[in-house]
Amino acid sequence: MLFLGWPLLWGGQFFHLIAEEWSPDRGLYGIFPMVTGSIAIALPALCISLPISLGTSFVAATLAPPPLRRGLLTMVRFMAGVPTVIYGFVAVFLLVPFMREQITGGSGLNILTASIILALLIAPTMIVFFVDGLSSVEKGSCLAVDALGGTKVQKLLYLQLPQALPAIVAGMVMGLGRAMGDTLISLMLAGNSIAIPHTAIDSGRTLTAHIALVIAADFASMEFKSIFAAGIILYVFASVVVVLLRLLTGMSMRRAG
């Protein structure tokens, strides 16, 4: 991939591509709208998913009785295994008509719809991280809280949550990474129009969907090069996510040790 993306970086066209707008008739193939589209879908998804995931992980880590806890965790891991395309497929026939008739009007294919399903998709990833963080708190401290007569909620709030903070941030980073990298949901639900989105009910196109949609036959065209620019951005983003995760786990390790 670098092999084909190289002329782009070398020629200095890369930054043009990122910053410019997309209007083929004027010879402009910038992918700035897709960059904003990706962010505009991934961030709301994270915001919707975060409270739900936090709540679920609280329940799964501490609040529920142990058998229910195990059942819930299995359920969450099964959710992570449900094919993305199935979420998208069901949403096209269930959520999209609902959005169209009840809430947003228009075609129902918009950023809000995509964000909701994306939130569902990244929830299991975040929950697994959160639960790991919450339940890796030292046993002695947990027993101490129990011995002092603390309730489960108190244990959670004043002992586990502060200790698990790096794990929670790591889970958020991971969730954001998955949300940015997902192709099918935004391709099927976000509408794919190329414009910088202004409101939540605009339709937008993400970087990933852009790659999936543009399969141009002319290998030398700027249109074709733009998908490699999109690929490089995603690649760099994924690397940044991994490095961030590394730093965070390093931090929590040091704190534990």
């Binding site: 991939m1 092999f3 084909l4 409270p51 739900i52 995931s53 936090l54 709540g55 679920t56 609280f58 329940v59 799964a60 609040l63 299995t74 359920m75 891991r77 959710m79 295994g81 449900v82 094919p83 993305t84 395309v85 199935i86 979420y87 998208g88 497929f89 069901v90 949403a91 096209v92 026939f93 269930l94 569902l120 929830a123 309730t151 909620v153 108190q154 959670l156 709030l157 990474g177 940015m180 990298g181 192709t183 099918l184 391709l187 099927m188 990933t208 790659i211 999936a212 399969i215 290998f219 998908i227 490699f228 690929g231 995603l234 690649y235 994924a238 690397s239 991994v242 995760l245 590394r246």
Partner: protein
Amino acid sequence: MRRLLEHGVAIFSWSGTLLLLTVLLVLLGYLGYRGAGAVETGLIFGTIPPLDALLLRRQVFDGLFPAIAGTFALVLLAVGLAVPVGLAAGIYMAEYCRGRSRQVLSLLFDVLAGLPSIVVGLAGFSLTIALHRLLPSRFGPCLLISAFSLGFLILPYIIRSTQLALESVPPALRLSAPALGATKLQNIRYVLLPARLPAILGGIILATGRAAEDTAVIMLTGAVASAGLPRSLFEQFEALPFFIYFISSQYSDPGELQKGFGAAILLLAACAILFLGAFVIEQTLSRRFRR
């Protein structure tokens, strides 16, 4: 004030959990409700008798059989390509790799694991173009390239699970064979691998599930809406996830839509079975270690 906060947190947590489970159940329930009527042998084999289709005596045109066969061949190839490499790399990472190169390699594998699948697809697509330029014959997107990219996608998961499995062998077990004079290789071959086989197998099954569900990669590297049964490695093919995506965007009549729902149920069932397999293996494993 604090009491109020604590109650608030409890209520908030439970309602979050309920909301999540409700949404999941509604989505899957709707799928089951709409697709229940579609699941029958006609869905898979169309009007052809199942035995004829399975023995490749007659072509299936109006069923899902080609898509299922395509997915099956694809996953088999991808896992077949990825497992030997993944196992070897996992063993290397766990047993041989030390110091600086270990850090660099594990960072590299992490980046690979975090890569969006569409980027892997794009890489496969570039490979196709490169091959197209190098080789004189007509060489386009095909089954082999797809399987190769897909194998690349699941490789980091296999490496990571193998490595974790080997590293979690209890120290007493790890040291006993070398203490008796076994070489390192013998130790790995006769003690460590058999002891952790279920965990490694579980990792491979989960990776298989990922290969079966992924759509973005095959979309760029050779899946098409109608190609019939896969005839050779160098031709385009049909696949279930791609079929579902295709139906959702351009179905033409209710019958086709119904087929889409049927396909979604089949894919979900396949992934559920794989998940269940991994789960059962994990359970037997934890029981064995407790003993």
